[in-house]
Symmetry: C2
Subunit: 718 residues, 2 copies
């Protein structure tokens, strides 16, 4: 909860991060003359990075460092310092921040390590530092971070100990691993990738990913946001904020994220690393899905995708054409396109005819378009003109293999020309390494994304399409159904008074009834003749189920009897059941039985709710039965969900085909499941006392014929 509170304070107070990203005057506290010291590297980077404002080294002994005049103490600093970069030993950090606060320094970056990541005393120091930050409403980045870079030429700040200042670009990178930052910057240097902002989050004692996202949301220099995350401080707020960014109607910005610690063992490594709490991977999948964030697996993939998003328009549709001078790579690219959810565009007959006029007869005029091994730039240019002019085509992957006649650089220039003329998406792959590299350089300089292999281009285009589907999605709201809240409160209140954690089937069904779920008709009966009479009322056949706060698994103790056909049968079953149950559990308190109509046959689904200690209520959906358990074919979302979110849950399980109807079967009543999921979402949001719900099964009938809850289990938080 403390992390949530922190975020809350930070978000609600809306402390500006302007002083940290766009400072005019910087103090380097712990600046050093020793060239191997971080306190020297930072200062040197600020100078060599071309910082446009003033730099004030602070060092108790030195008078000048790198020609800059030093202050001997924080108190000696001039007024109007926007940012203090702190590189003093961890034990001195809380006091340093206190002095900064007193001096009116607007913000700080704590580079120093030796905090929460080492535990014990470090954790205490970090807490103290965070409290000081809060006291002075002074945003603090870190501790234990690489620092921050803003390439905006008006600022040009490299407040990091990175070896490299990247070139300006429209990609922002936010990382929870400082060392990864170093690798990324070196990688980007080689691939000539530019950045707008580069942020190493460190231990997130004060500033966290939410603060940074809020800043980047309105940063005109940033078009794409990349994140390396090991945890999130607040799932719900992340979803809320990221949706605003990724789904903005005017200028949506894609967010691509690596969430490390996917596997159990990875998560273990994560906790030993930063000591941060790891949620289960499914929860993160749910959060990213709800936030419109594209989750990727590796650094390579994140950059492959980022360059596509940074430099190219998002294609209007998933119909892609391939233009290649080699058959084999064309086939491989086709395979990859299909694998990544793209569709091979049908080249129109008009285009095919146009291609016939400009390509040799042995070329391939359908998709993939093969301009043949001896193609030179003119043939590529002709073919691209035809293909890009085809209204069936919204994206093109251009493949080149270096053959005897291939004029690689001229072809690169031709592609650049085509790219400048078209609004369609062009990605390229010049296969090879040495001979093709001058061509690749031309493409990269002109912002035509290049991939070493066509498969990677297909993957990037596939991600663009996934994002496209997100930004054009219909916007729906969180629905609020009228409910009988008084009834629910009274059931929960009574249970809490009796210290009853597990509700009886009867209580659970009553709560669901109050929340408007469609239920199989039932009546409660506390003695045998009453059960018979209630059964007459419901109509035969009926089932009876034991109602007891002490029975966890009704079936295991003989607490369920099905298909009873007369009042006499019901009464006999009542008696047999109560004595059977008492034989299993002599101390069980038995309230009576639920007399329930026998349901019609239908498709069985499971709806569930659970509370994650870190992320709050999480909804689950899956099909009933053994197979689903084996295949782990379930999906999760953080509550609350919107109507579309509920629909996506249903669509995202593999067994969705069964609900849609296979082999001529009619579809199930999907709308009713969507409604039930939303009702469960409302219950999760409204009832903090409810910690777990299992609706198992909800039997779903055919389209427009509804669904009915057959059994349910509710556990209270006590």
């Amino acid at each position: 909860m403390s992390a949530q509170d922190d975020a809350g304070v930070l978000l609600s107070s809306k402390r500006s991060l302007k002083p940290i990203f766009e400072p005019q005057a910087i103090a380097v506290i712990g600046a050093s003359r020793r060239k191997e010291a971080v306190g020297y590297a930072i200062l040197a980077n600020l100078v060599s990075g071309g910082f446009k404002g003033k730099i004030h080294p602070v060092n108790p002994k030195a008078d000048t460092i790198e020609g800059l005049e030093c202050c001997h103490a924080i108190n000696d600093l001039p007024e109007g310092i926007d940012l203090g970069v702190v590189i003093v030993p961890s034990t001195a950090v809380p006091e340093t921040l206190e002095l900064c606060g007193q001096k009116g320094v607007q913000s700080a970056i704590v580079i120093s390590a030796g905090f929460r990541e080492i535990g014990g005393e470090g954790t205490r120091l970090e807490r103290e530092a965070a409290e000081t930050a809060k006291k002075y409403r002074m945003p603090v980045l870190g501790p234990n971070c690489l620092g921050l870079i803003n390439t905006d030429p008006a600022i040009s700040i490299n407040a990091s100990f990175s070896r490299t200042m990247p070139r300006p670009g429209n990609i922002a990178f936010v990382s929870q691993s400082g060392a990864l930052c170093a690798a990324i910057l070196d990688y980007a240097k080689g691939e000539d990738i530019g950045f707008s902002k580069f942020v190493s989050l460190g231990n997130k004692a004060d500033i966290n990913e939410l603060c940074i996202l809020r800043y980047l949301k309105d940063d005109p220099k940033t078009d794409v946001i990349l994140m390396y995350l090991e945890d999130l401080v607040d799932g719900a707020r992340f979803i809320h904020l990221a949706r605003e960014i990724t789904g903005d109607l005017v200028k949506p910005k894609p967010i691509l994220a690596i969430k490390a610690g996917r596997t159990l063992q990875g998560a273990k490594a994560a906790s030993s690393h930063t000591g941060s709490l790891m949620g289960s991977d499914e929860v993160y999948d749910a959060i990213f899905a709800q936030a419109g964030v594209l989750r990727v697996d590796s650094v390579e993939e994140i950059f492959d995708l980022a360059t596509a998003f940074a430099y190219q328009a998002i294609p209007r549709s998933k119909r892609v054409a391939i233009v290649t001078n080699a058959g084999g790579p064309g086939i491989m690219a086709t395979d990859a396109c299909v694998r990544y959810g793209l569709e091979m565009a049908e080249i129109s007959s008009a285009t095919q005819e146009a291609l016939r006029k400009v390509l040799p007869p042995t070329a391939n005029f359908s998709n993939p378009v093969d301009v043949i091994g001896d193609a030179q730039h003119d043939r590529y240019e002709h073919a691209l003109t035809c293909v890009l002019g085809d209204s069936n085509v919204d994206g093109v992957i251009v493949i080149l293999t270096p053959q005897a006649m291939t004029d690689i650089e001229e072809i690169a220039h031709a592609i650049v020309r085509m790219n400048q003329k078209t609004k369609k998406t062009i990605l390229t792959s010049f296969m090879g390494f040495v001979d093709v590299s001058p061509g690749i350089k031309i493409l990269e300089e002109h912002h035509v994304p290049h991939y070493k292999f066509p498969e990677e281009a297909a993957r990037a285009l596939g991600a663009m399409i996934r994002y496209k589907q997100w930004i054009i999605r219909p916007r729906t709201e969180v629905r609020s159904f009228p409910i009988d809240s008084v009834g629910v409160r009274s059931i929960i209140q009574q249970a809490k008074e009796k210290n009853q954690r597990l509700l009886t089937t009867h209580q659970a069904m009553e709560i669901l009834k109050a929340y408007g779920f469609p239920l199989l008709p039932y009546e409660f009966a506390s003695f045998a003749p009453q059960a018979g009479a209630k059964a007459e009322k419901i109509g035969f056949p009926v089932a009876i189920k034991i109602v007891s706060p002490d029975i966890v698994h009704k079936l295991d103790v003989g607490g369920v009897r099905l298909n009873l056909k007369s009042a006499a049968e019901v009464e006999r079953a009542f008696k047999e059941m109560t004595s059977a149950v008492l034989k299993f559990q002599p101390a069980a308190k038995i309230d009576g039985v639920l007399v329930q109509a026998m349901g019609m046959k239908g498709r069985e689904v499971i709806l569930g709710m659970n509370r994650d200690p870190h992320f709050g209520p999480i909804l689950m959906f899956g099909l009933g039965g053994t197979y689903v358990e084996v295949f782990k074919d379930v999906t999760f979302r953080l509550a609350p969900i919107r109507e579309l979110g509920a629909r996506r849950m249903i669509e995202s399980i593999r067994a969705y085909a069964i609900l849609k109807g296979i082999r001529g079967e009619e579809p199930a009543d999907l709308e009713k499941i969507i409604e039930c999921l939303q009702r469960l979402s409302q219950l999760a949001s409204n009832e903090p006392d409810v910690s777990e719900v299992d609706i198992n099964p909800l039997v779903v009938y055919r389209k427009k014929e509804g669904a009915q809850v057959v059994d349910a289990r509710i556990v209270l938080k006590i």
Copy 2:
């Protein structure tokens, strides 16, 4: 069939490929003085490639080319030409090969295009060329290929028009795409990868992948074989030959293959369950699995894996350790290791103690071992010494991120030293691009495989483990069960005489009985009272099923009745059924009914067989029920299978967990399923007239309690 025959001739005759791979004298037929001509490029490549033998250009007009004396006609060539490289127009190729044959030229490479790939006349020319090759028992590579390279210093032949001669190495590359060869050579040049042989197969008119594999099998210079394939000429022979190579007990050579055209759907024999689930890609998966070939998706992956296999020992077990100077990449690598089937080694407490002595206290001593951001080469070397000395560790991934203190080149040298001392597998990832590149160069020069990202190292190590499991697998044989072949022949003969394609349920069950399958007890009855009497004999309850050669789907026409409890019920059901069936299908010939015992409850599986027009009999295995169809959770193998193959089929479906028993359930009788799969394999191999078999379901009981065929469907090839 013709492709199979070709391969057969070639394999059985065992024509040596020595003249083509290791020639002493070469004729370049169609050599040219024009520098832009392929006929010039080939000659120039032979010369500049340092060919050790004699080169004879053949050109009707020129007297010398590049200082070499020309022959004006093939007939003018000296005796003893091992290899003719042919670059004449396609129309002249058949005659050229004829002249070569007459002259006693031992082998040929046809570079020229314009054959089968353009259809029509080209196809005819190709057939003619192939026939000439056969007539003179002269192995011919191509046509329509890039040529061939052998880097063996004793030969040093670049008989290709590639721009590049690769450096010698222990990797052979065989490609069905010439253009891909060009890209690969350029890529390998950049990554400094060496090759033993480089073969562009072209149209495979004569020499195909089988001939090449047979040569590479015994090539002492080749340790790893890479293949790019678009099809296989013969699945069964490929399996047989590749198993010999990949599974050799003395010197196994891994084969890595890209099969392009994954997503293209093969021709479907859609009537059977097995046929409808079987795409061409599933068949290739089956072939590669049976051949011990590692299938990979991309060129990048194939080289990532190849360098690991080429330079490092295969690890003894899947227990891997990670040594890193950065936490984040360590977590990502851990994730990847688990994803690729590795196991994070438990660092022993002795090793942890040793690590404590050489690493700073803030380091991480368990796996991943974190030597911390300021680590220099001494710390890496100490940590690696400890970790490699731990008997729990069989492979190590070393990660480096370029931080302020990192002495990259010294660390690379330290790793090289460790690599020379240990027999354990070491893979590395120096993350970044520019700063790390001198270090990467050192690693590559000393054959320590390097990967741009740790995930790729994990993927390569995972592939080594998969291959390890293949080479240490228990070797089993194809079992032959005693069968009643006379009975089977008579049923098939009778059906063929009546032109009956679909066997009746009765006939199908009789065939399975003859093959020794365990069947649910049944009796045939042709009239109602007989059915009643047979039911008495079997014991109630029983099921009856219509027996008719004209009914394709018994259930759909009311041809199945279950759970009949007396003779009277059986007789009534008989009459109702026959009239119901006739109402649906008035012209149906009804033989009678099968009276069958009602089976016990068990787990239902499906066994199937289908004949692929190209690859012959293919076996299928999956679990019964709707879910399996939705999840496509089935597996295929080419018949015949060995006992281990049958076991692997069962283990490879995702629903295997259900057969093993979930939630405390006892395991199913897996041995009986394995036996049934082998019986089906024998049936598929023995009975060429049977084109499809569906055993659906085979009900499997608990361990040692057997299984019973409940229903089956057999279709004949007519």
